[in-house]
Amino acid sequence: MNAILEGFRGFARYFGGVMGADAYAKYLEHHEASGHAEAPMTEREFWRDHTDRQDNNPQGRCC
């Protein structure tokens, strides 16, 4: 049962990665590792910034 649960969690994590759901977690990791002095953006700020930057850097989606 545990193995199934673990497998399902792994899949969910993978799927989340593909969807880009873990972007904030990665940003925090980067922020911590690069030793910035100022505090990182909050989750809300980060996602706002995330989509607002897409406004100015559109990415094509394929046919």
């Binding site: 994590r13 990665g17 593909v18 969807m19 880009g20 690069s34």
Partner: protein, 766 residues
């Protein structure tokens, strides 16, 4: 700088300066160790590859040689997967060894430009899925369906062989070269490598090609939704669903992407089921029953609004929904085909394979089959994706082969499955659905009579079957539902109902398929309009600097309007075309897409030559030559062919003459207005073909010039400019493929033992 016989000297020179950090374990498996590992053939390894080759060979034999009365769909799966595995294991390694020559001691942009936002090291398995979701859309689901007119074999061969030797090569090379340049776009690379003339021609061609591609994708949606209340309702509902998701993510629970995607998915399913109920009511059927012209105008207005709304409100949430559906649908399709294993009765080569007058698309097998199937075999549009987001996310240089080459193989597999789904339906049904209304007459009786009159072997369709299929999928009619999407939806419903639900569920599966195709296409239309608008703004900005400010509203709105009107005009032209829009426009879509591929491969050729890989330049030159020959021949036939069905200008002349002779109907055009429309449309289509082919020839020639110059320079030992970012030593390690080799595993273990403070932040590992 001395002689550069094979280019290795030069690359080594710049890379010798890479000083690895002595406190860290090696950032790359030792070259000698890797070579030894690759060269060592253990009995198990030999047995596995022998089995794969044997299975692949047998499958191809079943498809191409035996061709009994029927052929089982499973052979398509085996033939393709085995060929992909062999292509990936052997051919892509040749490309890696002689053309790209990755060096894991070099940091990738995701490492040396890391910012936690755009440049983020991403686990290779996750990035594979991410890249695949970005490149695969409605294209591989539509082209193979239309190409099935010629029988299953020509399309199958082109999809599988084409991807191994051309499509995946292009994706891999563009991805790799862009990665070496910090993730620069194809346009910027063209400018650097080909100079002002080649770069400008590439830019204009790209812009025009995007307009055509967006227009024809939109045409596919319009054709699928025309006179379909159920489809209009459920696809229309995606807009409020996406808006809700956008607001949810922005204000209610920011960042809960998976959660909101699940909610969106449930709402989407409800919209499909609800669509059936709504279409069943009298008011619903009346209100959502829209003709194609109305839907086209709706799409144009929608396209403009969607492209000026902020990304968070509509585009981003729909993108999540689209990715979510994409992965799910493809897994489902693969499972269903493997479980159901439908028998295929379509002949390997149909009667139309040797003729020029097929009703679905006109023209001979060569070159038109090769432009009809673009996505899935060779798609130039991918070069825009491979030189955008993905190169900024790659962890190690050696992973580019898995992501670029492997990702494209996956898309090819999607195309094969779409082909299987489409040819699993009755052949008579196929032609009744995919031939323009001008030929079928639009009713079940006329369509059945017309299809039976084609004299196709084994085809004897009754009006009852057409009516019953329409009833099963919950549509009023399926006659002349051109564009590929409805055929695929019927095929998918046909397969899925054997898997889950039976005939009662067919209508659901049909609209499920229409829904996801529309979702992919609407996302592509939105994103394409935005990208095109930025390109236009930047181009105008060279003359009127104010336009370069992307946040300047009037400029942004004006450029968006220009792009929407451009594709909207082509869309309306297709919708109102008396000859049947898909029939005349789809070849233009394929030609445009593959001319873009020729442009991308030209840029790759020039770069590969600059890197002095002359002996193996054929790896790039062969697909480039093929794409160039196919598209230029197709363009020339579209421009110069005296056959009215094929040549735009020949058709134009025929209709102009008929008008001049005072005829009030001619061919499939039944009124003077329709005849005038044909004259106008063919003129525009003809000139578009001329512009595309001229621009592409300019790009190809400038690439040749750059290649010859690189060759001369190398001979004389002259150093030439290199546009790669300077090499930076890497400080991280990750294996190259899905499954790490023993040496890679050892190195990973060494890195895992490293104290945390010495390690770079780890990317998500699972």
């Amino acid at each position: 700088m001395g002689k550069m016989p094979d280019g290795k000297a030069r690359t080594a020179l710049s890379e010798d300066a890479l000083e690895p950090d002595p406190k860290l374990p090696p950032t790359s498996v030792d070259d000698a160790v890797r070579e030894a590992e690759e060269r060592k053939w253990t009995p198990t390894k030999i047995a596995i590859w022998a089995a794969i080759s044997l299975l692949g060979g047998v499958s191809w034999f079943m498809l191409a040689i035996i061709r009994g009365e029927t052929v089982n769909a499973i052979w398509f799966v085996f033939a393709s997967v085995c060929t992909y595995l062999i292509g990936y294991r052997f051919y892509s390694k040749v490309i890696e060894r002689y053309i790209t020559r990755p060096n894991d001691r070099r940091a990738t942009p995701a490492e040396y430009k890391a910012d936690g936002k755009d440049y983020v090291r991403t686990d290779r398995n996750v990035l594979f899925g991410h890249h695949f979701a970005a490149i695969a859309g409605a294209g591989p689901l539509v082209g193979p369906v239309i190409a099935a007119q010629m029988g299953y074999l020509p399309g199958t061969i082109w999809i599988i062989i084409g991807v191994v030797l051309a499509g995946a090569v292009q994706d891999y090379l563009v991805l790799f070269f862009s990665m070496r340049r910090g993730g620069r776009s194809l346009g910027q690379m063209a400018r650097e490598e080909l100079g002002v003339i080649g770069g400008t021609a590439a830019l204009i061609a790209t812009l025009l090609i995007m307009v055509i591609i967006v227009a024809i994708l939109a045409l596919v949606v319009v054709n699928a939704l025309g006179e379909s209340p159920w489809g209009v309702f459920s696809v229309g509902m995606t807009i409020p669903i996406a808006l809700f998701m956008g607001v949810y993510l922005r204000f209610i629970r920011p960042g809960k992407v998976m959660e909101v995607s699940l909610i969106g998915f449930v709402l989407l399913m409800a919209a499909i089921i609800g669509g059936g109920a709504v279409a069943g009511t009298e008011w619903g059927a009346a209100f959502f029953h829209l003709d194609k012209v109305t839907i086209a105008w709706g799409l144009i207005v929608y396209g403009f609004i969607a492209a000026i709304l902020p990304v968070w409100l509509l585009l981003a949430p729909r993108d999540y929904l689209s990715t979510f559906m994409k992965i799910g649908v493809i897994v489902m399709l693969a499972l269903a085909i493997i479980v159901v294993r439908p028998e295929i009765t379509v002949p390997a080569f149909s009667e139309f394979a040797s003729r020029e007058n097929g009703p679905v698309f006109p023209g001979a097998l060569f070159p038109f089959l090769f432009v009809t199937i673009a996505c899935g075999a060779l798609s130039g549009f991918h070069a825009l994706i491979s030189s955008g987001t993905t190169p900024k996310l790659i962890e190690k240089e050696r992973q580019a082969r898995l992501i670029g080459y492997g990702g494209m193989l996956m898309e090819s597999f999607v195309a094969i499955m779409a082909l299987v789904a489409a040819i699993s339906i009755d052949r008579g049904l196929y032609f009744a659905m995919n031939s323009p209304a001008a030929l079928t007459g639009g009713t079940v009786q006329t369509a059945a009579t017309w299809v039976n009159s084609l004299g196709l072997a084994g085809v004897n369709i009754t009006p009852d079957l057409l009516a019953e299929t329409a009833r099963n999928v919950g549509e009023e009619s399926i006659v002349s539902r051109t564009g590929g999407a409805p055929t695929l939806a019927v095929g998918l419903a046909h397969i899925m109902q054997q898997f889950i639900g039976g005939t009662a569920m067919m209508a659901f599966w049909y609209h499920f398929a229409i829904m996801f195709e529309a979702l992919f296409i609407l996302t592509a239309v939105d994103a394409g309009t935005r990208v095109a608008r930025f390109m236009l703004q930047d181009s105008i900005g060279n003359f009127i600097p104010k336009f370069k400010e992307h946040s300047w509203r009037p400029g942004a709105w004006l450029c968006t309007a220009v792009m929407v009107l451009a594709w909207g005009a082509v869309l309306l032209m297709g919708v109102t075309d008396p000859l049947g829009g898909i029939n005349t426009l789809f070849p233009l879509f394929g030609i445009a897409n593959q001319l873009l591929a020729a442009i991308a491969l030209s840029v790759c050729l020039a770069i590969a030559a600059r890197r002095a890989s002359f002996k193996y330049l054929w790896i790039v030159a062969v697909p480039l030559a093929f794409a160039a020959v196919v598209t230029i021949t197709a363009s020339f036939q579209k421009i110069f062919s005296p056959v009215p069905a094929v040549g735009y200008f020949a058709n134009n002349a025929a209709f102009s003459k008929a008008l001049a002779d005072g005829k009030t109907e001619f061919g499939t055009a039944k009124t003077v207005a329709a005849m005038e429309a044909v004259v106008r449309n063919t003129m525009i289509q003809g000139w578009l073909s001329v512009i595309f082919v001229v621009l592409s020839i300019i790009v190809i020639i400038t690439a040749m010039v750059a290649t010859v110059k690189a060759f001369r320079d190398a001979k004389q030992g002259v150093a030439h400019a290199d546009h790669e970012d300077p090499a930076v030593p890497s400080r991280a390690y990750a294996p190259a493929g899905f499954i790490p080799t023993p040496a890679e595993r050892e190195l990973v273990a060494e890195w895992n033992k490293l104290p945390a403070d010495l390690r770079l932040e780890k990317s998500a590992h699972h």
